[in-house]
Symmetry: C2
């Protein structure tokens, strides 16, 4: 997918919502556990119930790997279902990968070629040669962790290194990497006040923003400090939508949650 | 596996060698491609040819994920084969995982329970709540990236933050995490001179050391600056052993490479 196409979808749907697919068998409605593949059945139902309200889906690989080969099969089915039925949606493998060059190339192949995701989240710690292999694929994107939404973000990301916080060093350095126009960045909604400075370093990049909802971030603040002239935001919600109800009405409840977020986004976009 | 058992194996075999299983179908001997599962066939042959010379095996998950569900099936077969036939070997899933707490728990379950590895490599960027879930499992270990062997290590790891290089901040902070006795650290052999300072921060921890061989690190220097009174080192070699020959004699050639490293280790241990 191109960035123009993504922006077009945001305008068309008046939404910059990403739905995170963290499928937990202990939380899905009990009646789905009788299905052959309950993980896929649940994800498919959520996708069908929310697709017109969001522009992106983000399966979290940990939740699939925890079920071994079966989980990986479910992940393959979900991305195939998305690509066949909703090709206009931007797809994100939330995998937080990253290694030395020849290994990062393998991860890129896994997510861009084998599974055919549009993007994958990656970790910055190993530096340039761990990131650039992900940027070698046309119309594919790597979403680099910058400032995360969790408490541990303050362990290293906000330390001052050479007069700048580490997360700003990451943004500054990474935006010089080859094909950096294929980079996006993770910035947690719980740290919306940091977005103003972040936008000075990466004015044009898309930001993937977790932490609205369950983790307490404010959509309004994220938009106020983080939006650029092409919106430039994908705001994620996972648990708040997926487990809005754990009963038979889960699709309606998920849709209602997604609709509420989309309406709030539409108000901001207008 | 307990750390006492690992130390006992090192003494018994006079080796602290870890063999990295980065199985690349483009590099394995052509005759193996006719097997049902060439990845497993190659890994099994390498394991059988080297097991008495090493104390650990380290499959690199990227090389399996690149082949999708089939690759994940091969990974399951390899760890099962190791646990059934060579239960005295320490097993490392080289996965570089790490995320917010509830997600890190899923990765820990994937590698410690679903696949039954002894350990998994993890990335520090997301901090404490991304690491501690991996430390909640008895006799299991998380191997945290500190100072890696690649060029990109200088992008962030060696920046000075609060008067210390970032990688030393990682060591200092992580060694205060709950159950930090279950932490090991990745330190690249290409930066052996840093090991002296590292040992002042984490004197008792095991270090996983990549970068000897293909990447140019010196085994002697790693031992000189990195060994503690219980050795405390696992030195990895992947490509140098796996692809010592790409012909039918690959097992003998791999064994010869592993033997050379084991002999050099034995000389240092004596």
């Amino acid at each position: 997918m191109t960035l123009d196409q993504l922006y077009h979808q945001i305008q068309k749907k008046k939404s910059f919502l990403c739905v995170g697919l963290d499928v937990d068998l202990e939380k899905i409605p009990a009646h789905l556990l009788q299905e052959d593949d309950p993980i896929f059945a649940f994800a498919k139902a959520i996708i069908d119930a929310t697709h017109d309200l969001c522009v992106a889906y983000k399966p979290n690989t940990a939740f699939f790997e925890a079920y071994g080969v079966k989980g990986w099969q479910s992940l393959e089915k979900i991305i195939k279902y998305l690509n066949e039925n909703y090709p206009d949606h931007f797809t994100i493998a939330d995998a937080k990968r990253g290694d030395i060059g020849n290994t990062s190339t393998r991860y890129a192949k896994a997510f861009f070629e084998q599974l055919n995701f549009d993007s994958v989240t990656i970790a910055p710690y190993m530096g340039k040669d761990g990131v650039e292999p992900f940027l070698a694929f046309k119309d594919k994107y790597a979403i680099l962790l910058a400032l995360t939404s969790n408490a541990g973000a303050y362990d290293y990301q906000t330390l001052t290194a050479d007069a700048l916080p580490v997360y700003q060093q990451v943004l500054k350095t990474a935006s010089q990497y080859k094909n950096s126009d294929r980079l996006m960045y993770v910035v947690g909604a719980t740290k919306a006040e940091y977005l103003k400075e972040i936008r000075q370093i990466v004015p044009d990049s898309f930001l993937l923003v977790p932490g609205v909802g369950a983790q307490g971030g404010s959509l309004e603040e994220v938009y106020k400090y983080g939006a650029n002239d092409r919106v430039g935001l994908l705001v994620n919600s996972s648990r708040g939508i997926l487990y809005a109800s754990q009963e038979e009405d889960f699709e309606d409840a998920a849709r209602a949650e997604a609709f509420e977020l989309q309406q709030a986004m539409e108000a901001l976009l207008d």
